[in-house]
Amino acid sequence: MNTQRAAWCFVAPALLVISVFFFLPVLAALIMSMTDFDIYALADLRNLRFVGLRNYVELLQTPLFWQALGNTLYFVVLGVPLSIAASLGAALLLHSRLTWFKGLFRTAFFAPVVTSLVAVAVIWRYLLHTRYGMINYGLQELGLPAVDWLNDPQWAMPAIILFAVWKNFGYNMIIFLAGLQSIPEDLYEAAGLDGAGTWQQFRYITWPMLGPTLLMVSILSMTGYFQLFAEPYVMTQGGPVQSTVSVLYFMYEQGFKWWNLGAASAVAFVLFAIMFCVTLLQLRFAKGGEV
């Protein structure tokens, strides 16, 4: 009994704060998404009306929303696998028995993760500059044509993906590294005695043993990549011709530029629903794959 009361004293402050500043607002957002909350309601709450699912219906008829969704999916579908491949590659290098200075390189690979997104996005904007950016300079040195990265609708999103992979791969690398270290060494020794080569060892030992890690990493990365916002805000401002407007960028403009808070809440919930479904699909897919 005494422990019960003490336990509640320990958890109550945190639970209260999380409820008031997170759970309640999430509920409020759901209700708001069914109202026409706009700049008039902001001035005077009596202008607020309940509109049911109208915001959602209108959203589905807004071309820019579909474009934003398409851009975000493009970013996720290309960015997540690339980022995971880079993470796994770096982790394998760090785990290899043949490489030196592991601690140093681990820190180097991880450094971009802790930097402020805005600051490194500013750096990359200059690196990607068409005329005096280092990246085009490097391409030309290799005999390749220069690319108008951030001003060409075809290249702006790939440029942002490249940037995001550089910024994020160190995070999953650490998780993969822990996964690799937990694979028993004797599996490789046995395989080596049976004459399995490096590729076969990777294909039949490393890859299956990393299964659960891979699932977790892909779920975490995917939810992170769906929340694309600061990159386009700083690097392209959604352009050129809206080729980098993401769902959250669209929500930000709806909510805090045009003050359509009702419609913006609907955008937030659609994004949440999509993320939720994709996570479930991944879990289902992983279960099916294991059998």
């Binding site: 999380i18 999430v26 708001m32 402020s116 600051a119 690196l127 916002f229 700083v234 809440s265």
Partner: protein, 273 residues
């Protein structure tokens, strides 16, 4: 075997240099004279290193104030997060109370909700309370970002405390609060450091929420100020690089100093499933 080792080490060196290049270039360009980094032929190192851009940022762009804002807010968020989450994390791990498992499951489930969903109503709430444009407004999102994750982090670590230790203290007649303060807190120190760095870095680097609730320039955090400066000073490469250095360097140094704790937290935190 020899060529293989050479190949792998070469690959690692190449990847390491590519990864660090943007950061090294930022540092180098921040020490160049205005216009130097965009001339031909392209220059990698400054001709004569100068602190001109840094002086310019402090004297004309008011970056000292932004730096101070970022430091104050990140420290405040860290203290708040420790204050609320540590005792809760411990209780979820070691104290039996009704509904413990159910509440914990609901909280873990809530981790899939993106914090942006809460932003619109929170903004309105702050507006009606007259709190938009204050430090407090930035801090209200800390529970959403650090709260559940923080409790989870502390709980996972507290699970390793042996029950016998707590039982023995109870037999000796210590109250739960005494046990927490005298026995548990010292044992939890490593994870407190971890939670502290996570919250500090998270608040320092956060962009969207401070961008929304801070409209007064004097209250801007470094990332928000940098984004706004970079829209005004598109041409001033070197100045912006100096601004980036000031934004990135403090957290990078903090990470380098406390790397072990950070990595440990990352591994605990990612075993969610």
């Amino acid at each position: 075997m020899k060529p293989r080792a050479l190949l792998l080490n070469g690959l690692m060196l190449g990847a390491g240099l590519l990864t660090l290049f943007p950061l090294l270039w930022m540092l180098s360009a921040s020490l160049m004279a205005p216009g130097e980094s965009s001339g031909f032929p392209i220059r990698v190192l400054p001709q004569s290193p100068t602190l001109f851009n840094y002086r310019e940022l402090f004297s004309h762009a008011g970056i000292g104030q932004y730096l101070l804002n970022s430091v104050l807010l990140s420290c405040a968020a860290t203290v708040l997060s420790l204050l609320f989450n540590v005792s809760a994390g411990y209780a979820f791990a070691k104290l039996r109370f009704q509904g413990r498992e159910r509440i914990f499951k609901v909280m873990l489930g809530a981790l899939v909700i993106p914090s942006q969903v809460a932003m619109l109503p929170l903004f309105l709430l702050l507006k009606y309370m007259g709190l938009v444009n204050t430090y407090g407004a930035v801090l209200v999102l800390v529970p959403a970002m650090a709260g559940i994750f923080g409790i989870f982090l502390v709980r996972q670590y507290a699970l390793t405390i042996p029950d016998a230790l707590l039982e023995a203290a109870r037999m000796d007649g210590a109250s739960e609060f005494q046990i927490f303060r005298i026995i548990v807190l010292p044992l939890l120190t490593p994870i407190l450091v971890t939670l502290g760095i996570f919250t500090f870095l998270g608040t320092w680097n956060d962009f969207m929420w401070p961008l929304i609730v801070l409209t007064d320039k004097d209250l801007y955090t470094l990332p928000v100020a940098l984004a706004s400066l970079s829209r005004e000073h598109v041409q001033d490469n070197e100045l912006m690089m100096a601004g980036s250095v000031l934004t990135v360097l403090p957290v990078l140094l903090l990470f380098l100093g406390l790397q072990r704790y950070y990595i440990q937290g990352l591994l605990v935190g990612s075993v969610k499933g």
